[in-house]
């Protein structure tokens, strides 16, 4: 929609040209969230598309995704064969509520920074032990685990003027086996619960719970837990009242289906 309070747009070409932050500024990446809601408090857009950050870099150390890379570009990535977690990428892209047309514009960083409980890029990045690389105003950067980056619905660890540059995921995480489960109130609807399990070659097991909770939750185990231990760990990590409540699922149902899906994941990764 028209953001009619916007009076100016900056289109920096280099990271060094990013302007000093001021009240009423917004970083513009794909715009698929920014332009989907009224933004009466905004006055200036800083368009990041001219920075030409490469969408993704693959190296021995792992996968690095630029915040401005689109979901479509991510879905097209060809990953090394020993990164057996690769199917997770497509599964998480498909979990996006928006269609492939949105993929053409929406960015990985935008999905993280919007910080909706159902943001599938959040689930992907948390499950793969992602780290957010954040550019600080005036130079310098800081690193925050994705798990700690998303604080709650539409709330992140970014302070005004900071910008999410990229998300780094270590090769070790990409070499784990994964299991993906998602449920929503309608077949293609927004996720009510999105769970990812990972299992390392050494046996380590981690369960990432998103969409069912206001922010991502991860339960880690040195080895595969039994059903009761997994249940107990979820209960310990997500207290009563810790389940998300909105039109995409009642909290009691999210809790219930999280238990069901977690057990399915455990069984799948036990095989």
């Amino acid at each position: 929609m028209d953001l009619d309070t916007i009076t100016s747009v900056l289109q920096p070409r280099r990271t060094n040209d990013l302007p000093a932050w001021r009240e009423g500024d917004a970083w513009l990446a794909g715009g698929t969230w920014l332009f989907s809601e009224p933004q009466p408090a905004l006055a200036r857009l800083i368009d990041l598309s001219g920075l030409d950050w490469p969408a993704a870099e693959i190296s021995d150390t792992g996968l690095s995704l630029s915040a401005t890379g689109t979901i479509a570009a991510l879905d097209r990535l060809a990953l090394p064969r020993d990164w057996v977690a690769a199917p997770l990428v497509g599964q998480c892209c498909r979990a996006l509520l928006g269609s492939f047309k949105i993929w053409n514009r929406a960015t990985v960083g935008g999905n993280l920074c919007t910080a909706l409980p159902a943001g599938p890029m959040i689930a992907l990045a948390v499950a793969l032990d992602g780290t957010c690389v954040i550019l600080r105003p005036g130079g310098g950067e800081r690193h925050v685990p994705v798990l700690d980056f998303v604080l709650g619905p539409q709330r992140t660890a970014l302070i005004p003027g900071e910008i999410l540059r990229r998300i780094d995921m270590p090769a070790a995480a990409l070499q784990r086996r994964t299991a993906f489960r998602r449920i929503s109130l309608s077949p293609g609807g927004r996720s009510g619960a999105l769970l990812i399990g990972t299992r390392g070659r050494a046996g380590g097991f981690a369960l990432t719970v998103t969409a069912a909770t206001p922010r991502p939750v991860q339960c880690s185990f040195a080895d595969l837990p039994d059903a009761a231990a997994l249940r107990a760990a979820i209960e310990a990590a997500i207290p009563e009242g810790g389940w998300y409540d909105d039109v995409h699922g009642a909290p009691d149902w999210r809790r219930h289906v999280t238990g069901l899906l977690a057990e399915e994941i455990r069984e799948e990764l036990a095989r």
Binding site: M1, D2, L3, D4, T5, I6, T7, S8, V9, L28, G30, G31, T32, F35, S36, E37, P38, P40, L42, L45, D47, S49, R94, L97, G98, S99, F100, K101, I102, N104, R105, I183, L185, S186, P187, G188, G189, R190, G192, D246, V247, H248, G249, A250, D252, W253, R254, H256, V257, L260
Partner: protein, 926 residues
């Protein structure tokens, strides 16, 4: 900046925060639609350098130097005015041939998306089209279009005339090419924009509105508050008789009765200035306690929605109750009441071997027509107030404006472009009064287009209802008594409160033979957004209750649900009685319920449908029926005028609007049938108060049966006159002559119509008064699978049998049924409003108010009964609201069969039903 649109290099100067959609429309590319303005519906889809995107989400400046293709240019480069010369892209042709649209508002975006799909995506349409919402079709016709299946027959002459044939809509080419002009698809020089400040409180009195800062905003032309508006009260609900609805609404009211009510309007040179003006208004409110729960409305200490103390003491505002189902009790929160009884209900229950009693709750749902409410207004060359509006009722709106502003009928004109969906929501005056006020205040043209958010937060919805039903039957299944107790929540205003209550309690009961019936119904005011007319008009809510209860009763008695209906439903000769023995004008013009029951039952038995998704899923089947009067009571009128034109074609003037109802197609077929011609020879002049004397409007499923009747009478009269003249000229009798597409065949040769059209010409008129009325029937059956632990439901098979009389256009009528089923599935499975503690609507976007997407809608097999109605034109009956009505009950009955759980509240969303489903299983397993 420079941009290439459809091959044309264009200069544009977008505002910094403007989206591409607005810029393209400003350039005149009106095929790019504004549906949700938030990236959810896909109506604005264009190609950016060949890639499909939602143009409402793309900042316009990012399109600089790039190539954009809109629907107008999909087939190749084109100019703005190059309408007819452009050939169709294969996907446009496919949508035309499959008639993959109804109102057509989603069609440009649907085609632009479909045209960009690769082979793999075409194989997975539920995923590929999840970003494109259609509210009309139920998606089957869209699937068929993408698959390249054609359904439309050629519109040249058939052997038996056009009636009964699947002819395409006359606007097909315009719709698929993006050239059909909807309400806002026109350029008006000097247009002002109107925006509304909406109340942040559910109940308050406005103490003061400080407009100084708003008026100081550059571009703001006027601020309108209750001090500027007429005091006279009216109802937004429109009926032939304006006294039917309570006159309880003011154009701008110092008393706020729901969060989202209009507080003031700002009129400005641009939308941005109008919005800035709205933000600059300073309003002081005295906040009052609010009433949200309809069950509390009639308590003695309930906050009063229409406090008598707020009334104009002089009574000059005309505040009064509605005359359809008027309130009898003295409580001011009572908007309408319906009571009636036949026989002795208590004695009936005493005779019953089995009784079922439960309360069934139907939630608040929205129409979600993809074109939001809105109107354009201006003064014409003679200074006449003219409105181009998105309405189902142009004539009744004209009359309402005349009454409100004290204007004579000849000083107001209301007309429609193509209307982007209605579903009853546009049987209201929700924008035209404000636009008229602004036009009269400024003397300039004014546009008010509701945002999608306003549509959710301040326009009307279905009436939420709690229906307590008690039914009893003997061991042989014969009903002994039915009692309904209905509590309907009309929200802050009483538009349609009485009519919906009255109608809801009528056909749902009249469909059954039962000696003892009783209804007590109350429609109450609350401090929530007003409910209004909605497809089914009360019946979807009461039929959910009655048909669930009958199913439960049959189940308890061990009787098959189809057999239960055969045993108890009315048959020709049976009196159709709800709860009054007063005479009425409803007759069995035809009767097809027996066929519908047989057709649905057989289809369900013959084909089990899709397999369940997994072995643990529980499978069951269920059905429900609905009866509906073919025309609303209390008067429904139409006039038609038809003229032979110099080119040998005909101009047909008719009042009804086209909003996806398909009436335009039917009008062409009816007139062509009577005149021995083809529909392409019939030019429609429609939905314009200048076109004919009067037309009550296309609501209550009347487009075919009332306006079509007037058309048929006019066209038949004209045919008679032409034949008589030709016979006289040929020196023979009219019986010896035959009217054909090009002329009148006489024993002495053909007299061309072009020759007959010379001179004084031929014209005829026809009227219809909407009485007597007939009944139509629908039977819905489902086979479903339910996941025993997550509560997910999947429809394996869906069948609807419909008794529509003679089906004038089978393809189109099938589409109406499919669309009705899909819309009803939305209400049965997903859609619901959520409010915060202060009465504010939380479900303000389509991503938070889930209407069915392609993935959510199964194919529904549509079967027609073979009947011929003695009341409707050419044997036809109405079939537009009715398919919606039995769906929720049929689905609930199927889920009951699968799981053992009787669900008594819609929607049957997984998070709401899983406990019931699991509880039954656990009990059974224990």
């Amino acid at each position: 900046m420079r941009i290439t649109v459809n091959g044309q290099v264009q200069e544009a100067a977008p505002q910094p925060g403007q989206c591409l959609r607005t810029m393209l429309r400003d350039l005149g590319w009106f095929g790019v639609k504004k549906g949700c303005d938030a990236g959810d519906c896909g109506a604005c889809t264009v190609h950016l350098d060949g890639e499909p995107i939602h143009s409402c989400l793309l900042p316009a400046f990012q399109a600089e130097g790039r190539a954009v293709t809109t629907i107008e240019g999909l087939a190749g480069s084109c100019t703005l005015d190059g309408a007819a010369s452009t050939p169709l892209h294969p996907m446009q042709a496919a949508f035309r041939d499959a008639q993959g649209f109804q109102c057509g508002f989603c069609t440009p975006g649907m085609i632009m998306t479909a045209a960009a799909l690769n082979q793999a995506q075409r194989q997975d349409l539920p995923t590929a089209l999840k970003g494109n919402l259609c509210r009309c079709t139920g998606y089957r016709a869209i699937r068929d279009a993408v698959a390249g299946l054609a359904h439309a027959e050629a519109s040249d002459a058939g052997h038996d005339g056009p009636v009964g044939r699947s002819l395409p809509a006359p606007a097909s080419l315009a719709v698929v090419s993006g050239r059909a002009a909807y309400t806002f698809d026109c350029t008006i020089p000097g247009l002002l924009h109107l925006k509304v400040l909406r109340a942040p409180h559910a109940h308050a009195r406005i103490l003061h509105i400080d407009r100084a800062a708003a008026l100081a905003v550059p571009g703001v032309v006027a601020v309108l508050t209750h001090e500027d508006a007429p005091r006279r009260r009216f109802s937004t609900g429109r009926h032939e008789n304006p006294l039917d609805d309570a006159a309880d609404t003011a154009l701008l009211d110092p008393v706020i009765r729901f969060q989202g009510q209009r507080v003031a309007a700002v009129v400005a040179e641009t939308e941005a200035a109008a919005m800035a003006g709205v933000r600059a208004l300073r309003v002081t409110y005295a906040v009052r306690p609010a009433l949200f729960d309809p069950r509390m409305a009639l308590k003695p200490d309930a906050p009063l929605v229409h406090d008598p103390a707020d009334r104009d003491p002089t009574g000059r505002d005309g505040d009064r109750a509605g005359e359809d189902a008027p309130p009898l009790l003295a409580h001011p929160n009572l908007a309408a009441e319906a009571h009636g009884a036949i026989g002795d209900v208590e004695a009936g229950f005493a005779q019953a071997h089995r009784v079922h009693e439960a309360e069934y709750v139907s939630q608040r749902v929205q129409h979600v027509h993809l074109e939001t409410h809105g109107a354009l207004g201006w003064l014409d060359a003679d200074g006449r107030l003219t409105l181009r509006s998105s309405t189902q009722v142009p004539f009744l709106t004209r009359d309402a404006l005349c009454a409100l502003f004290d204007l004579d009928r000849d000083r107001v004109r209301v007309l429609c472009g193509r209307v982007g969906g209605g579903f009853g929501g546009k049987q209201e005056m929700l924008t035209e009064d404000l636009v008229a006020l602004a036009v009269l205040a400024t003397g300039r043209p004014v546009k008010y287009e509701m945002t999608r958010e306003e549509n959710f937060c301040s326009a009307t919805t279905r009436h939420p209802m709690r229906v307590r039903v008690k039914v009893g039957a003997r061991a042989d299944g014969r009903l002994t008594a039915i009692a309904l107790s209905v509590l309907s929540n009309t929200g802050a205003y009483g538009n349609h409160a009485g009519g919906v209550l009255h109608h809801g309690c009528n056909e749902s009961l009249a469909a059954y033979n039962c000696p003892n019936k009783r209804v007590e119904g109350y429609a109450v005011y609350t401090h929530t957004l007003p409910a209004g007319a909605f497809r089914g008009y009360g019946l979807s809510q009461t039929i959910f209750a009655v048909e669930s209860a009958i199913d439960e009763l049959a189940r308890g008695l061990g009787i098959d649900p189809f057999a239960m209906r055969r045993l108890n439903a009315v048959r020709p000769g049976d009196p159709m009685v709800a709860t009054s023995l007063e005479p009425h004008d409803v007759v069995y013009g035809s009767y097809g319920l027996d066929q519908c029951l047989d057709l649905a039952e057989r289809a369900l038995a013959d084909d089990p449908g899709e397999p369940p998704p997994g072995p643990e899923w529980l499978v069951g089947q269920g059905m429900a029926m609905g009866m509906i009067d073919t025309i609303p009571p209390r008067g429904h009128f139409a006039h038609a005028r038809i003229r032979l034109e110099p080119d040998g074609g005909y101009a047909l003037a008719i009042g009804t609007a086209e909003f996806g109802n398909g009436t335009s197609t039917v009008h062409g077929q009816i007139a062509a049938q009577a005149l021995g011609t083809t529909p392409d020879r019939i030019r429609l002049i429609q939905a314009d108060t200048d076109a004919v004397t009067h037309d009550t409007g296309a609501y209550g499923s009347t487009g075919t049966v009332v306006a079509g009747q007037a058309n048929h009478r006019a066209a038949s009269a004209l045919a008679g006159r032409i034949l008589a003249a030709a016979a006289a000229q040929a020196g023979t009798e009219p019986e010896a002559c035959r009217l054909t597409r090009d002329g009148v065949e006489t024993p002495s040769g053909v007299i061309p119509l072009t020759e007959l059209a010379r001179g004084d010409g031929f014209e005829a008129t026809g009227d219809a008064d909407g009485t007597p009325r007939s009944v139509s029937f629908n039977v819905q059956a489902f086979r479903v699978a339910v996941h025993p632990r997550t509560g997910e439901t999947r429809i394996l098979r869906s069948i609807q049998a419909a008794d529509a009389g003679v089906v004038i256009n089978p393809m189109q009528c099938r589409g109406q049924v499919e669309g009705g089923v899909a819309q009803a599935l939305g209400a049965a499975l997903y859609e619901d409003y959520r409010f915060d503690a202060e009465g504010g609507v939380l479900t303000r976007t389509l991503r938070n108010y889930h209407i069915p997407a392609l993935a959510d809608v199964p194919a529904t097999q549509v079967l027609f009964a073979d009947t011929h109605d003695t009341v409707g034109p050419l044997g036809a009956k109405s079939m537009s609201e009715a398919p919606y009505n039995p769906v929720a009950a049929a689905l609930g009955n199927a889920i009951r069969d699968a799981t053992g759980a009787r669900l008594t509240a819609t929607p049957f969303a997984p998070d709401r039903i899983y406990r019931s489903v699991m509880a039954v299983r656990e009990t059974a397993g224990a």
